[in-house]
């Protein structure tokens, strides 16, 4: 299992009720789960996301999660025409 910290911002905050942005939401996932899998697991619709940053680095939906990762999920506040 991998223990990770998840934060969702702007219009996505509503999918993580009670989220403390300072601490992040601490969850356990299967080691090697992708970002796409994570979104599915925590109930954030993939089509509403745009930028994923893990440990300060931009990644895509195929990124494989590992223990200690800090995951930040953004809607199109950043980038992209619809």
């Amino acid at each position: 299992m991998a223990d990770i910290e998840v934060r969702a911002y702007a219009t996505l905050i509503k999918y993580l009720p009670g989220l403390d942005l300072k601490e992040g939401k601490k969850i356990s996932v299967k080691e090697g789960l992708t970002i796409q899998g994570l979104l599915n697991q925590i109930g954030i619709p993939e089509k509403e996301t745009k930028i994923i940053i893990v440990n300060g680095v931009h990644v895509d939906l195929s990124y494989l999660l590992k223990n200690g990762d800090r995951v930040a999920i953004f809607p199109p506040v950043a980038g992209g025409a619809k």
Binding site: A72, V77, A78, A81, K82
Partner: protein, 578 residues
């Protein structure tokens, strides 16, 4: 627009000139920078009689083009000694355009010690005594002028500009009559103060519509342009819903949010000063608070806000990303109300908030204030308003403050303090800080779009590859946008949706009867950059000035633990072949 007014403050006389043909195709920054390079001796004292203050609306200002209410102020900067163009919204640009003003060139210095105001109407420009308006803070000044003249455009300076402090900005009023829009950076407020002008009133009463050669073509192009802005996720949703401070959380997560005077790239409680928080507070407190707001009529991006105090009264409008960083994260202050209050103080005293925040951080290094303690920083800002010797030092900006107190940790280039992105982890904008013609500047070449937001391209912010090219491309594109009177944020949409660029060209052609093509966008911007580089060269600047302070090359910035890494030879490639 074809009238150029020369306001001679030595003779206290105004001359009206017809715009010479060599300037006909120019507007905004293209016009101010060309006049600066043509008329101002590059080695002059910026606060002396040979410097000039030039005002110019943009090419599309006053039309029905969305987001076209920006104007430019130009001159030699007292803060940096380089050429300066300071771009600002608010309601004055459209009124200048409707008064058929192509430019106002303010020259000379009055022989006496009194302050004056200028009145701009359809009949011309008048110089009048400022009387008891001198010495007022910008909030009270704006209220007095609206009481007297009605809802006119108000361009003014605070006490900082009157006292020729080099961090003095020029305020332009918003649709509610507040002084919160700022031609902030580069100290042009001190130039206005050196010419003893307290305020410029722009009244468009009795004016007609701005003439457009082909009304039908213009309407079609303007419609296409608006659709592009509404369609793009950043201009159509993120900016209206959360304002520019929507950047706080993403820049912070990316490890580029400069904290405690650029010691680290992540601030633990950044979310407390984010755009999401501002929207939440504005909605919860209600009253005069607004999460969505325009700085000028016809803006459809609506990135502005009105931040209310606890009783719902307007405290400051707008509260923006750069300011919640400079007066917040950079000082380790995470109390949004204190940050908003400091913003209001800066507006009232007449200071650029970015430079003010970098200055306050340098002051904290010198032990004059406590990190994280908003009240200790408020006390320092109040010193500036009271014109005490300490206040006068702080009012000169971060570089001078650092020199006075023997502090070497001063994040600045060419004397202008860095904005809200660490150059070590947002390397593209770091190249802009070093090579912009105006010193440590972010809007001049906002590579943050490609580095962090993945708009208009994708350039990894942590690696050296691609940063020189993206900074150059953005500096040239921005120089063009700054000529048009369009808000720079339209570039966010147009970089991803090229039909937006075509619409801008179509609007200009429809208004002026020109035959520009999209390819001309880079040509126009390139010419502006050449003009500015030429002035700076005459002023004595060399490539040795296109460098970051040495600690950015040597000190690793957590959490990524990187240095700037971009070598001087690489930086010199930005303009080597222009």
């Amino acid at each position: 627009m074809d009238k150029i007014y020369r306001v001679n403050m030595t003779e206290l006389k105004v001359r009206e000139e017809k715009c010479p043909s060599k300037y006909a195709a120019l507007g905004g920054r293209g016009l101010t920078s060309t006049i600066v390079n043509d008329e101002i001796p590059a080695t002059c004292h910026p606060l002396g009689a040979h410097n000039k203050l030039i005002l110019a609306p943009g090419l599309l200002s006053g039309t029905s083009a969305a987001c076209s209410g920006r104007m430019s102020f130009g001159g030699k900067s007292p803060l940096t000694g380089t050429i300066k163009e300071s771009n600002v919204g608010g309601i004055a640009s459209q009124k200048l355009a409707k008064n058929n003003v192509k430019a106002i060139i303010i020259e000379g210095i009055p022989k006496d010690d009194k302050f004056y105001i200028l009145e701009v109407t359809k009949d011309g420009v008048k110089i009048l005594p400022a009387g008891d308006l001198a010495g007022l803070g910008t909030y009270e000044l704006n209220k007095k002028l609206w009481d007297k003249y009605g809802k006119v455009g108000v361009i003014c300076i605070g006490v900082a500009g009157e006292e020729r402090m080099c961090n003095a900005g020029i305020s332009v009023n918003d649709p509610e009559g507040g002084p919160g829009r700022y031609a902030g950076r580069g100290g042009l407020g001190a130039v206005m103060g050196s010419k003893k002008i307290k305020a410029i009133i722009v009244d468009d009463k009795g004016t007609d519509k701005v003439p457009v050669k082909d009304e039908e073509k213009f309407k079609q192009a303007a419609k296409a342009f608006s659709q592009v802005l509404l369609k793009h996720a950043v201009t159509g949703q993120a900016l209206p819903n959360f304002g520019t401070a929507v950047l706080v959380n993403i820049v912070n997560e990316a490890g580029g949010f400069p904290t405690k005077n650029f010691r680290r790239g992540r601030f633990d409680t950044a979310a407390n000063i984010s755009g999401e928080k501002i929207a939440e507070v504005a909605k919860a407190r209600g009253g005069e608070g607004k999460a969505v707001h325009v700085c000028h009529p016809g803006c459809i991006i609506r990135c502005s806000n009105i931040y209310p105090d606890k009783s719902g009264k307007a405290l400051v409008a707008p509260l923006e990303y750069e300011t919640v960083w400079s007066l917040g994260g950079n000082l380790e202050v995470d109390d949004l109300d204190k940050v908003a209050y400091m913003n209001r103080l800066c507006n009232d005293i007449g200071l650029d908030t970015i430079e003010a925040g970098v200055t306050l951080a340098v002051a904290a290094e010198a032990g004059l204030a406590k990190w994280g303690d908003g009240d200790s920083f408020i006390k320092l800002l109040e010193e500036v308003g009271k014109k005490t010797p300490l206040g006068r030092v702080l009012g000169q900006g971060a570089t001078v403050t650092g020199r006075v107190f023997g502090i070497t940790r001063v994040p600045a280039c060419k004397g202008q303090g860095f904005p809200a992105y660490d150059p070590r982890t947002v390397k593209g904008v770091g190249v802009t800080y070093a090579t912009s013609t105006m010193g440590g500047d972010h809007t001049a070449g906002y590579a943050v779009l490609q580095n962090i937001l993945k708009v208009g391209g994708d350039v990894n912010p942590l690696k050296t590859e691609g940063q020189v090219d993206v900074s150059r491309t953005m500096q040239i594109a921005t120089a063009t946008v700054d000529c048009t009177g369009l808000c720079l944020f339209v570039a966010i949409a147009c970089l991803d949706l090229p039909e937006g660029l075509q619409a801008i060209i179509d609007m200009i052609n429809a208004e002026y009867g020109t035959t520009l093509k999209v390819d001309d966008i880079a040509k126009i911007g390139t010419q502006v950059m050449k003009t500015e580089l030429e002035f700076n060269k005459k002023a004595g600047f060399t490539r040795a000035d296109d460098r970051l302070p040495e600690f950015f090359d040597e000190e690793k910035c957590p959490p990524h633990n990187l240095t700037f890494e971009i070598k001087p030879e690489e930086l010199d490639k930005v303009w080597a072949n222009i």
